[in-house]
Structure formats: C-alpha cells, structure tokens
Symmetry: C2
Subunit: 321 residues, 2 copies
C-alpha cells in the first residue's frame, strides 16, 4: 500500500516528463507550459488508490491516471478562456500568455492526448473505461455550461446549484475512482460504491471550498478570504442565504451584490452568520462526508486496503486551506 | 455495392436524426443547429466505402462513420472561432449565432460525442481504430496551428505548405478510409494502401480547390471567383507564383498583397498565368490523382469492388464547382 505522499510524488514525476512532441512548438509549448504550473494531482491519485484496493497498482492504472490528469488540464485551459481568467495558480493562463486561438487548440490537443493515454489500456478493459470516461467528460461540459448559464441568472435554486457542482466537479472524482476499480478487476457493485464515494466526496470538497473562501482563517487560507463575495460568485453560502434571508436581509444582500462598497465582505459575512449559513454549510459538508464514508465502507475489499482513500478523503474535506 | 448517391443519402438520414440529449439545451442546441447546416459527408462516405471493399457494410462502420463526421464538425466549429468566420455554408457560425464560450464548449462536447460513437465499435477493433483516429485528430490540430502560423509569416515554402495541407485536410480522408478497412477485416498492407489513396486524394482535392477559386468558371463555381486572392490567402497558386516570379512580378505581387485596388483579382490572375501556375496546378493535381489511383490499384481486393471509390475520387478531383 502506498501513502498519499508517495503516490503524489510518483505522479508529479510522471507529469514532469515531457507529454507532447517537440514540434510544432507553437502548438505544444503552451501545453507543456500549462502542465508545468502543476496542481494537486488529486484525480489521478484517486484512480491509483481505487486500483490499489484490489492489489498492486497496474500499468493500465498509470495510463488511465495520466489520461485523467491531462483531461482535467484540458478543462482548465478551456474554462480559463471562457471565464476570461488572467491567472491560474499565480501564473498566466494559456490564452493570456499566448493567444485565445492557441489556447483553444492547445486544449483540444490536450484532450486528444488524454485519449491517446487511455488507448494504452489493455483491450480487455478499454470499452468499459471509455464508457465511464466519455459519459463523465460530457457531463463536465454540461456542468460548465450550467455554471455559465447561472452567472447570467439572477436567482439560482440550491438543487440546481448542487446538480451543477456535481457535474462540474464531483463526477470526475467519482469516475477517476471507478476507472481505477475497473482496472483492478472490481465488479459492478464495487464500481458503483467507489463512484458514489467519489461523488459525495466531491460535494463535501466543494462545500468546504466555498466555506473556506468566506470563513477560512486568513493566516492559513493562502488566498484572499472573501474573494467569492467580492466577485459576486454564486456559492453554496450565497444561494442558501438568499433562500432563508428575511426581506430586510435580502434587500441588503441585493444592494451589496450590485455595488462595491469597501465593507462588502464584512457585511455579507455578517448576514451569512445571521442566517446561520456557516453552521449549515458545516453540517452539509459532514452529511456528504458521512455518505461518502458509508460507500467506502460498503466496498467489498479488506478494510486495511481502504486506509489511503480514507486519509485522502479526510485531507480533502477537513483541510483549512 | 452501394453507389455514392445511396451512401450519401443514408448518411444524411443518420445525421439528420438528433445526435445530442435535449438538456441542457443551452449546450446541445448549438450542436444540433450546426449539424443541421449539413455538408457533403465525404469523410463518413469514405469510411463506408473502405469497409465495403471487404463485404457488406458492418454496423461498426456506421458507428465509426458517424464518429468521424462529428469529429469533422468539431474541427469546423473551433476553426470558425479561431478564424473569426461569420458564415459557414451561408449560415451563421456557432460563435456568432450564440457566443464564443458556448461555441468553444459545443465543439468540446462534439468531440467527446465522436468518441462515444467510436466506443460502440466491437472491442476487437476498438484499439486499432482509436490508434488511427487519435493520431489523426492530433495531426489535424497540428495542421490548424501551422495554418495560423503561416498566416502571420511573410513567406511560406511550398513544402511547408504541402505538409500543412496534408495535416489539415488529407489525413482525415486517409484515416476515414483506413478505419473502414480495419473494420472490414483488412490487413496492414491494405490499410496502408487505403491510407495513401486517401492522402493523395486529399492533396489533389485541395489543389483543385485552390485552382477553382482562381480559375473556375464563374457560372459553375457557386462562390465568388478570386475570393482567396481578395483575402490574401496563401494557396498553392500564390506560394508557387512567389517562388517562380521575376523581380518585377514579385514587386507587383507584393503591392497587390498590401493593397485593395479594384482590379486586384485580374492583375494577380494575369501574373499567375504569366508564371504558368495554372498549368502547373493542373499537372500537380494530376500527379496526386495518379498516385492515389496507383494505391487503389494496389489494394488486394477484387477490382469490381473498387468502382465506388474510383467514382468518388474522380468526382472530388475533376469537379468544376
């Protein structure tokens, strides 16, 4: 059994190797640049851990893990274009550093490269892995489209927001695990439990993300606390608060959303607290986390093998930064 | 054996069926709109014809054909964004009718949908088909990048231009044929000959395209003759003329390229004629066409089975519009 740290280190080494041909450099350099920005490599780690539930990590699992990470990077490059984001992890995004057409094409070729890695998987598993992967990839596009639609809508319901987060974030965590399980020879029920573990973990992760952005300890959080509030971003907290706020609170929230007053963050946070969305969010996170762990418990593999996934889940959901 | 007309009709019917889920409509309606614009469906026809060289057209060949056509449409949606093209076949492009972010995402999901169709292929053939498909898909991205690079370069060599056209246009015709052959059970040599037939056919096709744009009969051509010249587009004709022109001719060409005088088309055409690039282009086209036919001849299947491909090749290369 490998620890989280070991698997992250192995993947970082694999991802640091050159992933694309040298020419045409005008196409592939932007890809290498973007991969060099790095990342937590959580999704491929989940794939490897799902695989290791059933024995030694297979070569196929490494192929799938790299494919999944390249796919994730494809979504980031294209999302950054759509969101007009200037920075990613403090570095220039691809469309800013190069150009929009080049970033568009770099994303396309990153996606195709992901499929090239998946096609290294043993033919016995290829169809099953691609079924999960393709469905998930399409769902992620649906999630991004809903996210863009919601930005233009005045009011978004909590259930609609949940569905969007599920599509945009959770299904890839879920699919990464399921693919690891498929490649470990896991049956349909174990695949299903792994998928639901990942899906609920993803939801818990996103609730925590929204919570930390508003209520995180500035000394530990690393980013500017209140960034989502300043950007009027629709989050779990804002959407829930709009649902439970009194008439007067709602009026103040709408005023805050349409202006840029210097005390915007503090005033929104105090409405959040008055509405109890801070404790609501913590309870919601706990609920998803517990649900995730129940699905991990349900997996028919020796408990000792589940430790790494359990540790990773706690790290993702209980983190303070 | 099916005629070209029959296969085109069958594919049109298949492509007219809904290809995407109903929701989210904001994502999938742009895809359905773009597919409704239509097209010649040449690539999937080549896949079916390649397959029929070996017997009845298989269900797998239809899956591959649809996947290839969706892939081709993905490239068109994204190319239109990169080229800032307002129209495609006289209809609004996706980014103009909807928005750039939506067109970007619609293209992404069109590519993923292509892979969903390919994944319906029998597992026995899946790895081989995806190997050809993935390599080709990546080459097409390389071709598009080179095309964009060349637009910014003052001088482009004929060999570099040839390589770009090969990547951007020919390899997909070649791969469509090869995939049809793989799914017909054709061996490696037949696959190779089919690929080279398609590649040379694609080059002949592109030379004819450039020729017609300059020297086509305005009554038959359908588009404005001289459109490439007005747009300063680098074509076989312009690149060859720049290579063989005298000092005085080169000077006039550069003046024409940097201005928009009313007689720009006629003056450029008369330099083309003085340099003999009209007959050079016809000879080049014949050369590729003959090479293509030699590879078709080399295929180890009964000659009678080659008739449809031979007819299609003549139609593509000898057309006057």
């Amino acid at each position: 059994m490998h620890s989280l740290e070991t698997l992250v280190a192995v993947l970082k080494e694999k991802m640091n190797a050159r992933q694309f041909p040298a020419t045409p450099a005008s196409l592939y350099e932007p890809n290498e640049y973007f991969l060099s920005i790095g990342g937590k490599r959580i999704r491929p780690v989940l794939c490897l851990m799902g695989n290791e539930l059933f024995g030694e990590i297979s070569e196929d699992a490494y192929h799938a893990a790299i494919g999944i990470e390249l796919f994730h990077n494809f979504t980031l490059i294209h999302d950054d274009i759509m969101d007009k984001a200037p920075l990613r992890r403090g570095m220039q995004t691809v469309h800013v550093k190069y150009s929009e057409p080049t970033a568009l094409l770099a994303g396309d070729v990153m996606l195709i490269r992901a499929y090239e890695h998946l096609n290294k998987i043993n033919s016995h598993y290829l169809h099953a892995v691609l079924s999960v992967f393709n469905k998930t990839a399409r769902e992620i596009c649906e999630g991004q489209q809903l996210d863009m639609d919601f930005e233009r809508q005045e009011k978004v319901g909590l259930n609609d927001y949940l569905r969007m987060i599920e599509l945009k974030t959770s299904v890839l965590l879920a699919a990464s695990l399921q693919i690891g399980v498929i490649l470990g020879g896991g049956g349909l029920d174990n695949q299903h439990q792994a998928y639901l573990f990942g899906k609920n973990l993803g939801l818990a992760f996103q609730v925590q993300d929204d919570y930390l952005d508003a209520f995180g300890d500035p000394g530990k959080f690393g980013k500017q606390v209140g960034g989502d509030i300043l950007a009027n971003k629709k989050t779990f907290l804002l959407i829930k608060a709009m649902e439970v706020a009194s008439g007067a609170q709602l009026e103040e929230m709408n005023a805050l959303l349409s202006g840029d007053m210097p005390d915007k963050v503090e005033r929104m946070l105090s409405i959040f607290r008055e509405c109890g969305v801070d404790s609501w969010a913590q309870a919601l996170k706990d609920q998803y986390q517990q649900k995730a762990f129940r699905h991990l418990d349900n997996m028919a593999v020796p408990s000792g093998r589940k430790q790494a996934l359990s540790d990773l889940a706690r790290y993702l959901v209980e983190r303070e930064h």
